[in-house]
C-alpha cells in the first residue's frame, strides 16, 4: 500500500493515463505524461476545490449549453 498514490489528484491522473493507454499509447509515454502532469495536477486541484466551495450541490452542475441559454436571455448577466 505504501507505494500506491494517496493524493486524489494523483490517483485521478494515473487513472486517466491508464484509460488513455489503449487509444493513445504515444501520448501516454512517461516523458510526455511528466511534461503535462504538473500543470494538470494544479488545475485539477484548483477546479475541484473551487467546485466544492462555490457550487451549490442542490443545483447540480449544468452543461455549457444550458448556461448559454440562460446567458443569452439576459444582457445584464
Amino acid at each position: 500500500m505504501a507505494n500506491l498514490p494517496q493524493d486524489e489528484d494523483d490517483i485521478e491522473l494515473l487513472a486517466a493515463v491508464a484509460s488513455r493507454l489503449q487509444s493513445s499509447p504515444q501520448s501516454a509515454a512517461p516523458e510526455r505524461v511528466a511534461r503535462v502532469a504538473p500543470q494538470v495536477t494544479v488545475n485539477n486541484r484548483l477546479v475541484m476545490e473551487a467546485a466544492r466551495r462555490m457550487l451549490d450541490m442542490q443545483d447540480p452542475p449544468d452543461t455549457f449549453d444550458g448556461w448559454c441559454r440562460s446567458f443569452a436571455d439576459r444582457s445584464d448577466a
Binding site: 510526455r32 488545475n43 457550487l55 449544468d62 440562460s70
Partner: protein, 471 residues
C-alpha cells in the same frame, strides 16, 4: 501606393457602390499585393486570382445593370485557412489536414458571399489555431508587417498581416483565447471577438467548441461593425448559435459616448504592463475621457482559478477533437502544439464539467468586481511590446512559453466568460510596433464596444497608419 488603399473597408464598399472605382480594378490591386507582400510576410496560403477576378467582373456587371447590391458588394476580402469552402483545400495550418478538401461551405462565408464580398484566397494561421504569436512549424512563422523579425500575433496571423498591409480590406478569424484580438493588436488594426454563440461556427474547423468564436478583423471599428452585421445570427446548421435578433451594428456608431462609464480594473492587469504600453493606454484613456466617457477604477477577482478552469476546458475539448490523430499520427504535430493538446487527455469528465459549471459563478464574480456599475471594461490588449520571433522560438522552451503566456494573458479569460472583446490600435512603440487596448462588454453588447471604438478612431489615426514596408 494607390489612394484607394487608404480607404477602410466601408469606404471602399461605398466607392464600389457609387461607381468611383470598379470591383475589378480594386481586386487587381489587392491580388498583386497578395502575391508580393503575402510572400514577404508569409501571410497567404492560397490565392484564387482567376475566381476572384471573375467574381469582380460579375459584380461590376451587376452594378451596371442596376441590380440590388449587398453591404459588401465587390469588396476584396480573404480569410483564415480554417473556414470550409466546398472544393477548396482547408488545412487549418496543419500538416495533418494538408489534403483536407471540404464538401461544405462555412455559414460565415455563405453570408459574406450573399452580401457580395469577394474571396481572394486563404490566409496563414497557426497550426490548428494553437498559437498566440503566429508560430507554425510546418508552414513557417508569419511575419509582422511593421517589422518582419517580430511576431504578427496569432492564431489568425494571416488575417492580421493582410489587413494591416492593405492586401485585403477585411478578414475573418477565429478566437478561442485571443486569436482575433492578438493579431489585430500586434498588426495595428481593429479586431472583434463577439459574444460566444453570436456567430455560427458551422463549417469551421474547431479547436475548443465552447470557447471558439468567429470574429472580424478590419482597419476600423466601423469595418468590424459591418462585417459582424453580415455574419451574425441564428443558423439551422449550428444549433448553438444565438437566436436573438442581429442589430445593424453600424446604425448607432455615430452616437455620443458622453456619460458612458468605462471600468479600468487595477491590480492583475497593471502588474503585467510594460512602460511603453502603459503610456499608450493612459493616453487612450485620456482621449476617451475627453470624449465624455467616465473612467472608473475597479478591481479584479483572483484570476488563477479562471486560468485553470479555462485550461481544463480548452485542453479537454481539443483532445476530444484530436483523439484519433493523436493516436494515429502523433509525429505529424509540432511538439509545441501536441504537448498543449495532450494535456487534455488527462483531465477527467468530472473536472471538465466542474470547469464548465464554474463559468456562471466566475463570470458573475468577474463582472461584479471588474465592471461594477460600468458599461464596459478597458483592458490592455497585449501587455508587452510585441516580441520578436527569436524571443518566442529560439530560446529555452520555458522562456518561450513564458513570453507566449504573457501575450495572451489579458485575453484568454474573456473567452471563458464568453464576453465580447474589441482590440483597438492605440499607438506605436519606440521600435515602431503597434500597441492596442481592449474593450470588453456585457453579453451581446458588441454595439457599445464598436461605438466606443469608433468614437476613439474619429479623433485618432492609429488605425489608419500603414506599415512602411507595405506603403
Amino acid at each position: 501606393m494607390t489612394p484607394w488603399l487608404e480607404q477602410d473597408m466601408v469606404g471602399i464598399a461605398n466607392a464600389v457602390r457609387d461607381g468611383d472605382v470598379t470591383a475589378e480594378a480594386i481586386t487587381t490591386i489587392c491580388l498583386e499585393r497578395m502575391e508580393r507582400l503575402g510572400a514577404a510576410f508569409n501571410a497567404v496560403v492560397r490565392i484564387e486570382s482567376e475566381a476572384a477576378l471573375s467574381a469582380a467582373r460579375e459584380a461590376d456587371v451587376a452594378r451596371a445593370r442596376g441590380k440590388p447590391l449587398g453591404a459588401l458588394h465587390g469588396v476584396p476580402l480573404a480569410h483564415k485557412d480554417i473556414f470550409h469552402r466546398a472544393g477548396r483545400p482547408c488545412a487549418g495550418g496543419a500538416k495533418i489536414c494538408a489534403d483536407h478538401m471540404p464538401t461544405d461551405t462555412a455559414t460565415v462565408l455563405q453570408r459574406l458571399d450573399a452580401a457580395g464580398a469577394l474571396d481572394l484566397g486563404s490566409l496563414h494561421m497557426a497550426e490548428f489555431a494553437f498559437s498566440p504569436t503566429g508560430y507554425n512549424a510546418h508552414y513557417g512563422h508569419g511575419r509582422n508587417p511593421w517589422s518582419p523579425a517580430h511576431v504578427p500575433g496569432g492564431s489568425s496571423s494571416g488575417s492580421g498581416i493582410s489587413v494591416a498591409a492593405r492586401m485585403v480590406f477585411g478578414s475573418l478569424g477565429t478566437d478561442t483565447g485571443g486569436s482575433v484580438r492578438q493579431p489585430a493588436a500586434m498588426c495595428g488594426i481593429t479586431g472583434l471577438k463577439p459574444t460566444h454563440r453570436r456567430v455560427s461556427t458551422a463549417g469551421t474547423m474547431p479547436l475548443s467548441r465552447s470557447l471558439d468564436c468567429i470574429g472580424p478583423l478590419g482597419q476600423s471599428a466601423r469595418d468590424c461593425a459591418r462585417l459582424l452585421t453580415v455574419i451574425a445570427g441564428a443558423d439551422v446548421r449550428d444549433g448553438a448559435a444565438a437566436e436573438r435578433p442581429v442589430p445593424d451594428y453600424e446604425a448607432r456608431l455615430g452616437e455620443s459616448v458622453r456619460g458612458v462609464r468605462i471600468a479600468r480594473p487595477r491590480g492583475f492587469y497593471d502588474d503585467l504592463l510594460q512602460p511603453e504600453v502603459r503610456t499608450a493606454l493612459e493616453e487612450s484613456l485620456r482621449v476617451l475621457r475627453d470624449l465624455g466617457a467616465v473612467i472608473v477604477e475597479t478591481g479584479v477577482p483572483d484570476m488563477q482559478l479562471v486560468t485553470a478552469a479555462n485550461h481544463v476546458i480548452m485542453a479537454s475539448e481539443a483532445a476530444a477533437v484530436h483523439g484519433r490523430w493523436l493516436a494515429e499520427r502523433p509525429q505529424d504535430y509540432s511538439d509545441q502544439v501536441r504537448g498543449r493538446i495532450e494535456a487534455g487527455l488527462y483531465y477527467t469528465a468530472a473536472r471538465y464539467l466542474e470547469a464548465q459549471s464554474l463559468r456562471r459563478v466566475l463570470t458573475a464574480e468577474y463582472l461584479k468586481a471588474a465592471m461594477a456599475d460600468c458599461d464596459a471594461i478597458f483592458l490592455p490588449a497585449v501587455p508587452i511590446v510585441t516580441p520578436s520571433i527569436e524571443e518566442t522560438t529560439a530560446v529555452s522552451q520555458a522562456a518561450a512559453l513564458d513570453v507566449i503566456a504573457q501575450v495572451s494573458q489579458c485575453m484568454r479569460a474573456i473567452n471563458y466568460f464568453a464576453l465580447p472583446g474589441l482590440s483597438v490600435p492605440a499607438g506605436l512603440s519606440s521600435g515602431g510596433l503597434p500597441i492596442a487596448f481592449q474593450l470588453v462588454g456585457r453579453p451581446f453588447d458588441e454595439a457599445l464596444l464598436l461605438r466606443l471604438g469608433h468614437a476613439f478612431q474619429n479623433v485618432t489615426d492609429w488605425h489608419r497608419r500603414i506599415p512602411p514596408l507595405a506603403a
